[in-house]
Amino acid sequence: MLIVAYQSMLQIALLIIGGLVFIAVLTSLADNLIQIEAKKSGIDTVNTNMSIWPSFGSLFKPATPNFTTASNFHKLRKGHDIKLEGQPEGSVDSNMVSRYSVRPQNFRGNAPIPKMLVEVGSEVKAGEPLFFDKQSPDIKYVAPVSGEVIEIRRGAKRSIVDVVILADKDQKHHLSDTPNLSDISREDLIKYLQSSGAWSMLVQRPFGLVADPSITPRDIFVSAFDTGPLAPDPSLALTGRSGDLQEGINVLSKLTDGQVYLSGNKAISTHLSGVDNADIHYFDGPHPAGNVGIQIHHIKPIKGADVVWTMSIDDVLTLGNLVTTGKYEPRRIVSIGGKVKQPKYVETLQGANVGELLSNQLEEDNIRIIAGDILSGKAVTNDDFLNANDDQITVIKEGNYNEPFGWLLPIKPRPSVSNTFPNFLFPDLTFDVDSNTHGEERAFVVTGQYEKMLPMDIYPQHLMKAIMTGNIERMEGLGINELLEEDIALAEFSCTSKQPLQSILRDGLDMLREQL
């Protein structure tokens, strides 16, 4: 009985398939005739779709927004936005912090003890050199403000951690000449940037080092926005500074034989659309779409021995300002968010004191202050200073409590990428987070999890295993050169086994660098 029914089913299925094939043949014949006709009448059949079918790509590609072209628009689906409570909104306060620091350890690749040019008690102007690295004495690291050097803080093994400057009430600038960009040679420009302090803002990938002046990078990449948790609104820094942006880009374009790539998102398209000398790309998607490493991968990935440079958007503006006015003035619009009384934006300068920025902002004692975001920032105290590239302070609660059945029946909502939490039903929910690990460290068990958090053609878990086993060839093959800690941070957040991916990756990068 069943077999009979099955056979008649088979016959009907064959008939239906035959009918479909017949229709398909007829329509494709008609389609071809239309295209032949279109060619005869001289219509461009490559770029306009003359077929009766929609083109395959257009069906699945996301619609390109009207401010850019399809080739410069990247829609990323992987990743995750961690939404936290305490996002600052509204206007920017100006807060003249009294103490600033330049932190030698922010500049990767240098020796831990730089050669100091100042000592405690020295008076410096903004833009005057403070120290340099013995390996590359031409690259000067300069003061962000004018004032008196009041402290040189040392860390482990006598390394220098902070060069603290007490700022003057009235800022005095060490004015450098403004170069004529149209006829300056690349060598002269490099010399100018090195002595004015701007060179230290260039970051070299792979490894994230201070750029090597003897190398001509393939391309230079700038990301104009940040998608991280509680990141500042990118349009704040750009508003009213289109001249600085253009000048900064002009300088960068002199440093590479390739292209300067500037990436933004929809919110800042009006700020970027008029910029010349750069190829402007737009990204749409959750964090880490704003990371320059992800953007490089989608625009023009680092392969083989490629070397590219990157610069943060704040530094590009500082650079633009420097070459037009001669003043080194590294402005930062810092977002102060999370568990604070009043989340807000503060305009200040590079390396400002954390405690002064947070004055009257803290509510409780059992908290953690993070310079940067919750994914790759550093835990600091009130006495510490922001790093060179930090433009946010996040305050969260410490999570040193035991939670009954916390793994099974959590009492409080917490961010998660897992669908075992009902979070996916409430996409706009913001979380009050703490630093609890929510579980213990385990071996790698779950697979496919990191891939969902990293919009790159990379297998992060296998890369981590290659690093742990010290397999250099495999590390390179699996794309370690395309990554820095910030790119893998979201995967570390989501890791079920609570593995320290960022520090594993840094071990791998250091291991690889030693081989060179």
Partner: protein, 415 residues
């Protein structure tokens, strides 16, 4: 925080009694999530951890447990010709099932966890959660009448040789639960294959044999007697013509017609047939599979590709049609045997499966494809998923190797 204080008070010394401390740690972290905070790297961690991942697999299996327990009793009474309707004699079937299942569950977990705790204490780390799932899976894939000593030996073999020898949870090559089963399969084949082993409670499944009841049944009898319910009947005997043959063994001999003479499609689909404890009810397993897919704990890629692989092979075998089993319509293959259980809970084990997404497609497809060949063409044992999954477990690293090689080649080539 009374309980928390109590835990803190009884915490054994880690140096003096490491095994006790490991046991304490396992129980404590079960009751309370630890108060550890992030150091370096990210400052906030996802709420997901390995315990939560594993418990969702166990939750997804609960329907199989409920049905499996009842079905042990149901098959027992079918053999006796008593309470033939599915819901008749409900209390007896449930009591009978519990008497069979509970010892299996307790023994496999005590042995498995005991070994885990011992090794964890020896290595000086906390107990990893892998056995939470293995310990829940092993009872579901054993025949109800498995002798306890065989169960103990097989679980010990699987955990020591299959897992601890490789370095513990996350390092094993083969699925632990299947390793326990395959150990029984090769070492004591008569306890896990053939027609007789799937119906429990008889010395031999043949006409005239009476059930063997013990003190536990007597206890329930007293209880049921007080409540005025029917009791176990030690005088009953197996009815004429009852063989206990599973649909698969019938299909080997006589194709789909032989199967449908004994069982209806509804019986096979809903699971009122003899078989391993938890594998018979397809809809309940599919609910479990959907839970795993919806929560993202199980890989839908493996499940889907395994289904595709099995369908393709079943169709090819239909086209060949050399033996009665090959002529069983391809869709009817899914009424019989443990395909869905293997798909939902065995193939998706993340440790032993392929770890790349492309690899998962290949891995799942080959399990479905090869498993169906083993089921239909194997002369001795008409089921293939256990062997196919263990086979592909062995090759999963190789599949990943080629997927990664392709990725590396792409990166290095265009340099």
């Amino acid at each position: 925080m009374g309980l928390l204080d109590f835990f803190k008070k009884i915490e054994p010394d880690k140096k003096k009694s490491p095994v006790l401390h490991t046991l304490f740690d396992a129980v404590f972290t079960f009751a309370y999530s630890p108060d550890s905070v992030t150091k370096g790297g990210v400052h906030v961690r996802d709420g997901m951890d390995l315990k939560r991942t594993m418990i969702h697999v166990v939750i997804a299996m609960q329907f199989c447990y409920l049905f499996g327990t009842y079905n042990i009793g149901h098959q027992h009474f079918i053999a006796l010709g008593e309470h033939v309707g599915f819901l008749e004699g409900f209390h007896l079937k449930l009591a009978y099932g519990l008497i069979k299942l509970l010892p299996i569950f307790i023994v496999s977990n005590v042995i498995g966890l005991g070994i885990e705790i011992y090794f964890a204490a020896k290595k000086g780390h906390s107990v990893e959660e892998g056995f939470l799932v293995s310990g829940a899976l092993i009872p579901l894939i054993m025949p109800p009448d498995i002798p306890m000593w065989i169960l103990i030996v097989s679980v010990a073999f699987a955990v020591i040789i299959g897992k601890e020898a490789f370095g513990g949870t996350g390092m094993n090559i083969w699925n632990i639960a299947l390793l326990a089963r395959v150990f029984v399969f090769f070492a004591y084949p008569t306890t896990i294959s053939g027609d007789e082993v799937w119906v429990s409670g008889f010395e031999k499944v043949a006409e005239g044999f009476s059930p063997e009841y013990g003190w536990a049944h007597g206890l329930f009898d007293t209880l049921f007697g007080w409540m005025g319910l029917t009791t176990f009947n030690p005088g009953a005997s197996i009815v004429d013509g009852f063989t206990g043959a599973t649909p698969l063994s019938l299909a080997t001999k006589g194709g789909w017609e032989a199967v449908t003479q004994v069982y209806t499609e509804g019986q096979m689909w809903w699971g009122a047939i003899p078989g391993s404890i938890g594998e018979t009810s397809k809809p309940l397993i599919i609910i479990g599979a959907l839970i795993l897919v919806a929560t993202g704990v199980g890989s839908w890629r493996i499940m889907l590709s395994m289904l595709i692989g099995a369908v393709v092979m079943a169709m090819l075998l239909n086209a060949w049609g050399a033996t009665p089993f090959m002529t069983v319509p391809w869709y009817a293959q899914f009424y019989m045997g443990s395909f869905f259980f293997a798909m939902a809970f065995m193939a998706t084990d993340p440790v032993t499966a392929s770890s790349t997404n492309i690899g998962k497609w290949i891995y799942g497809f080959l399990i479905g494809f090869i498993g169906m060949i083993v089921r239909v063409m194997n002369p001795a044992y008409p089921e293939g998923w256990m062997l196919a999954i263990l086979f592909l477990n062995t090759f999963a690293p190789l599949i990943d190797h080629y997927v990664l090689e392709a990725n590396m080649k792409k990166r290095l080539q265009s340099a």
